[in-house]
Amino acid sequence: MVSEIGIVIIEYLKWFKGVIFLFIDIFYWIVFGPFKGKFSRRQSIFQQMVFVGLRSIIIVVFVDIFTGIVLAMQTAYQLQKMGAVLYVASLVAISLCRELSPVLTALVVAGRAGSAISAELGTMKVTEQIEALETMAINPTRFLVVPRFLALLLMLPALTILGNLAGILGGYLVGTGSLHINPDLYMQTTFKYLELKDIYTGLIKSFAFGMIIALIGCYEGLNTRGGAEGVGKATTRSVVISFILIILVDCIITAIFYFSKI
């Protein structure tokens, strides 16, 4: 029993070590790669940005509009009792920008792009394509991981901003349509209480989430074992682990902001 727990712990530590090493390796190639004349090709970063970014727009907008709508209705239910329905506008905007939009966007992208990354890299691993790259003296981290990492790092905050806007639009629909708040007043109230720091704390979170999704997706993909079944397992693992880490890191970052009064 004790030895079994020991084995599990060792497995976790090994996994953690592997992820950290990949993280260091990515930074090595981003920072020092250009000095060696070894850029990750701009074209492949662009391709990945299109893949993780553009193709996720619709689903992100969809999720955040409806979240905005639900949030507006739920807060209206509370605020009506106090006769403060107008504040729906600022409540929706602040909770979206600080919390819901970064997290929900990250979860959507983890489910969509993170899983696709680990499926693709996993397939490349089990069909010896990764080994072929290494044999050709092409470093897989530089060639495959860095473009995906940079693409997610840039696109997730962009998608989050889009999600903020979509969520505010959702709240606006409820506020003006069903609560009969004057449209101009709604927008004024939204921006009166929404501060710049509410937006950038959300964006800081989404940078962190972007790194998590890329790192876990790539790590699980590159460490896939055993054929098509292994690819399936790696994909599932990458989504589950990304979800857990996103929630965990969200909690940690929120706590840091809370206690440092940002």
């Binding site: 394509q129 080994e131 072929a132 790259l133 290494e134 044999t135 050709m136 003296a137 092409i138």
Partner: protein, 270 residues
């Protein structure tokens, strides 16, 4: 480099190399020397460890015991940058081609050229055309690996392997799955490359026809051990029971197809 000068040095040498996978001995105390400019054939049954031996030679995996030296340098002792420098002088074809799915034929062959040279795009295009015509696939530049047959993929893999005009080419079953005519063309190509360009070739195959066609020296491995190394003449006249059985392809002999622990009788009993 003249032929004689070249032959004297061992370009790849394996000393007491063993490799274990999950406690199973896959390569068992192998000693081999491959000399510059020769075509060295490794033959053996399915699962005998041929691909693993190639992967040890290219540094894709490290030996658990013993040492592998490429051009006189132990791969366990050199840095990954130095290993990459050595690898740029290699070409390798894989048993299942291992082309990048996301790139088309042209981009696959261009990959080592774009990564490791500063050649202009027009020159790269010309090189691709040359290499593709060597393997008889001109006109397939725009196809993706999923759109061409397994044999064609294999030939694209070969074109990719020789894109950088390597000094050593490793071939993992280059003719298996090809029709006899194309197989013959590939055999001739391997031979031409080694004779005309002095490329050292290491070929894994169990195609007996091509073995005697291309080999300067042949080694037979069985269950991770080297059974014998010799010239095609030596092998043809060998008294070794394993080699006799392998060459003749007879089902009975020292190479037991059925696992010892599960006798044929047990299977039939069910």
């Amino acid at each position: 480099m003249s032929v004689k000068e070249c032959k004297a040095e061992s370009i790849i040498s394996l000393r007491n190399v063993s490799k274990f996978f999950q406690g199973k001995t896959v390569i068992d105390d192998v000693n081999l020397d491959i000399y510059c400019g020769e075509t060295f054939v490794i033959m053996g049954c399915s699962g005998s460890g041929k691909s693993t031996l190639l992967r040890l030679m290219t540094g894709a995996i490290r030996p658990d015991k013993g040492s592998v030296a490429l051009k006189g340098r132990d791969i366990a002792k050199i840095s990954s940058e130095e290993l990459d420098e050595v690898r740029k002088t290699f070409g390798m074809t894989f048993q299942y081609s291992a082309l990048l799915d996301s790139l088309n034929v042209e981009e696959n062959i261009a990959l080592p050229l774009r990564e490791h040279t500063q050649l202009a795009e027009e020159i790269i295009k010309i090189i691709i055309k040359m290499k593709l015509s060597l393997v008889g696939l001109r006109g397939y530049e725009e196809y993706y690996p999923s759109q061409i047959s397994g044999g064609m993929r294999k030939r694209v893999g070969l074109a990719r392997a020789i894109a950088l005009d390597p000094e050593i080419v490793f071939y993992d079953e280059p003719t298996s799955g090809l029709d006899p005519v194309v197989g013959g063309v590939i055999d001739k190509l391997i031979k031409d490359l080694s004779v005309k360009l002095m490329i050292t070739s290491v070929v894994v195959t169990h195609d007996m026809h091509s073995v005697f066609e291309i080999a300067d020296r042949i080694s037979m491995i069985h269950k991770g051990k080297v059974v014998e190394v010799g010239t095609p003449e030596d092998i043809r006249n060998s008294k070794n029971e394993y080699i006799r059985q392998f060459i003749n392809g007879s089902p009975s002999g020292p190479i037991d197809f059925f696992r010892e622990d599960i006798g044929m009788e047990d299977v039939l009993d069910l």
